[in-house]
Amino acid sequence: MPDLERDVQDAPAAPAGASSQLQLDAPSAAPVKLGRSIVVTSGKGGVGKTTTTANLGTALADAGRSVVVVDADVGLRNLDVVLGLENRVSKHLLDVIEEKCSLDDALVRDRVRRNLLLMPAAQNREKDDVPEEKMALLVRQLQERFEFVLIDCPAGIEQGFRNAVVGAQEAIVVTTPEVSAVRDADRVIGLLPRNIELKLVVNRVRPAMVKKGTMMSVADVNAILRLDLLGVVPDEREIIIATNRGTPVIDIEGSETGAAFRRIARRMLGEDVPIPSFEDKSNFVTRIMSTLGLGRS
């Protein structure tokens, strides 16, 4: 029964229903310039993916770009609480994928920044419920409408990870200067598709600890991961306060963390913003390495 088999295989490739549904929501202009789709991922949980997604989204919106942040953590969503939008969530990503509502029904607009929208994840469903190809299609639809599509990836490397990555053209790998976080980041980099553009953000750097030698420096981290460094974010208690309140940390006055996220957003827009030295970047080992020409500058 070769015909039958082909039918089955064709089904996901051409989800006729879904595309027609989604097209209704898209502006009718003929060839659309696609926005950038960027997944924020890490492997290890709790290194700051959601915080990074929320703050970069906010900073990009402040720079006048239209931004949608997508929560891909089905069943354990948190982007809504970090942005303080949890009260306004009614429909979610799976509703759109399953055609229970339109894209616009599910998108939640930020109260202050009208060009920042949230696509919430379903909380009462499982990650296996999301078909990868439909997720890719959804991201593509969003790219037609927004200049930036930031996707907040769940921890781990299971189906949720695959769903978050499938539609992305770029990836921001977030890690902290801890052995386990670096190892997990390395694992994730190896699993990302080859054609994806990779950038590194080192989060939760505590300069004092680096100086004491009780924390790896950014150079140590990147001697292993060897990616383009997009930014370094210092650790601050303001993050906890910001999450308590549901405001992005970039809105907290005088926050070093917030300033770091703003700089990263500017780098994403192509500006040449130097990475300030939160630390003495070269420690003993990296100095020797670079003398031998083995380290990366």
Partner: protein, 177 residues
């Protein structure tokens, strides 16, 4: 030090109390959305009670939870065609509640609360803030036992006994079913 004092006395809103408030709301909504079957059951039972007093237009009915600014609320918009006569109500109640059992049977406690609180005229009901929280959770946890990923596969009724809920009010309604 000045900074500290300023912080100490100003403190129009400690962020932890804000966190507490937000969590309270979001968890209630999470817990409720975890159990669509329970929600449907509740809606059905609520309706059973209302029907004894009112003629209801079921097609125009809308019951859902809303997470408004500082309140987690059950919003019920139920079009009423007609209020029944005293006799009709008496008859309906006798059929529904035999031998003066009132509304305290396990199956109907939730709906009884709803009926007592809002009677027939008030279409919008608000779950009071603190008190009701535990109940909401009891209901939300129960159905999980029947989900496929639960290896025990135990009937819902055992769940209450097995789940330690130290401060649970004794009067919390067991889940229906």
């Amino acid at each position: 030090m000045i900074d500290f004092l300023a912080k100490f006395f100003r403190r129009e809103e400690a962020s932890s109390s804000r966190a507490r408030e937000r969590l309270r709301l979001v968890l209630m909504s999470d817990r409720v959305s975890l159990a669509p079957d329970i929600f449907d059951a509740m809606k059905g039972e609520m309706l059973d009670v209302l029907r004894r007093y009112l003629e209801i237009d079921e097609r125009g009915m809308d019951v859902h939870f809303e997470n408004a600014e500082r309140q987690f609320a059950l919003m019920a918009n139920i079009p009423v065609r007609e209020v029944k006569t005293h006799d009709a109500i008496a008859l309906a109640r006798r059929v529904a509640v035999p031998e003066g059992a009132e509304f305290t049977s396990a199956k109907q406690t939730a709906s009884a609360d709803a009926a007592n609180g809002s009677a027939a005229q008030q279409a919008t009901m608000t779950v009071p803030r603190r008190r009701r929280r535990r109940r909401a959770r009891t209901a939300a946890i129960a159905p999980l036992a029947s989900q496929p990923n639960d290896d025990a596969g135990t009937p819902q009724s055992n769940d209450d006994a097995g789940t330690p809920q130290p401060n649970d009010d004794a009067g919390a309604p067991p889940p229906s079913g």
